[in-house]
């Protein structure tokens, strides 16, 4: 059983790093230089080159984007939903890049600061 948070190392958002990414499906997090999350997303079945193209496209949308992290998974939809729910529980709002989804369409997980056992 893995933790519910995306516990992968941060990588710099530059062309060389992105070019070396796998073309597999998965989830990602785009952040600014201070680690503030700008967007959570997934590379799904329609992505041209999986995580490589999805992260490049998402990074280009945010002027402040400086780094990212990702996780390869075929269960990208449920993992993405989980990451959104965890973020909402932790911060009380969605990342700026996901705000248009609407909080009412995001699940509620008991993993926020009020839940001592949530990891």
């Amino acid at each position: 059983m893995t933790g519910v948070r995306l516990a992968k190392p941060w990588l710099d958002l530059d062309e060389a790093v992105i070019a070396a990414l796998p073309g597999q499906l998965g989830v990602y997090e785009i952040a600014d230089a201070k680690g503030g999350t700008l967007e959570l997303g997934f590379a799904g079945g329609r992505s041209r080159f999986g995580l490589r193209s999805a992260i490049a496209e998402a990074g280009a949308k945010h002027e402040a984007a400086a780094r990212f992290r990702y996780e390869v998974t075929m269960q990208y939809w449920s993992r993405f939903e989980e990451l959104l729910a965890v973020y909402l529980a932790d911060h009380g709002e969605l990342p700026p890049g996901n705000a248009d989804r609407g909080e009412q369409r995001v699940g509620r997980l008991g993993v926020g600061s009020s839940c001592a056992t949530g990891d």
Partner: protein, 388 residues
Amino acid sequence: MDFELSPEQKLILETVRRFVREEIEPLEADLDPDASELPPHHRERLVAMTKELGFYGLDIPEEYGGPGIDLVTRTLMAFEMAQHRAGLYAPCYGVFGGAGLAQLYEADDGQKERYLYPVLRGEKRGFFALTEPSGGSDPARAIRTTAVRDGDDWILDGEKTFISGADKADFGIVFARTDPELGRKGITCFLVDTDMPGFRVRRIVHTLRSTHYAAELEFNRVRVPGRNVLGEVNQGFAIANDRLSRNRIPYAAGCVGVALKAQEMAIAYAKTRKTFGDYLSTRQAVQWMIVDNEIDLRTARALTLEAAARADAGKPFRTEAAICKLVASEGASRVVDRSMQIHGGYGMTKDLPLERWYRELRIRRVGEGPNEIQRLIVARDVIGGSFH
């Protein structure tokens, strides 16, 4: 059994078929292959269409405003509504509306005001929580979640797992043990609001089915008022059991639906794809796969309609529901598997819906009671007695 369609049924089915092919399938070209939701503007537009057609809220009883469609016709419609990529778990992306949780129709007036009517108006969402980490196939013995009376209230403690929709729900129907000495007669059903202190959705359970995922729940001294007992104290198992039998018919119908579409795709591909100078459809190996598909399909379709017809006639249908669930889930799995084989490499890709159906159908042999349990039910009914 005669399943000649009436003119009204033919019209209904033609309408639903056209709706799926003209309204649903084109949208899927732009959606992620694993999506189970439509963008809100498309959803609103299509819900308006189903309301205009008089098909919204198909499973709502007529006395609560539903269209009053018999189960055979509803099953025939389900065959059609499942014939698209998301069709197994999200037929037509839910734009025909839901009926909520069937148990709520047995609720008292106060409970109907607080739960049933808001669900029917689309204001509240519920979940059904029976399965626990200790097991789901034998709930009478496996339920370890306890409910202990405290004045007028009950205190719930325990865990549930593989519960769909709990993270986005307002309340749940939760089964707990209220008398440890009474086995299946010691289970009570509670209506638990998700904002009650001590209730927590602990994590999402990631499975082969990426959308419509399930979750793991925790009940830590959740105080539930006595007015939230659904039905009678210690009579909860009957509520659970009734739901399990009835649900097996639409569950089977969804399997038949995607298998029908997989067979249609396999035949079309076999007629256009050439190998060694001729079409796949001329190869006996491929012909036999298509024939085996047809046998599986016709068997599952007939048995599912038979179960629906018995339920419509008010006859016992537990055996028929168990048989159609297991035959449809196993048969549809074989149909999709063969259709993938006929499509070769393309059959494995997310360009086609076959790989999604393949993954999701695997769950159908376990969901709503594993097929071994269905065989056990049939064995009990045809041999008699009670055994394990």
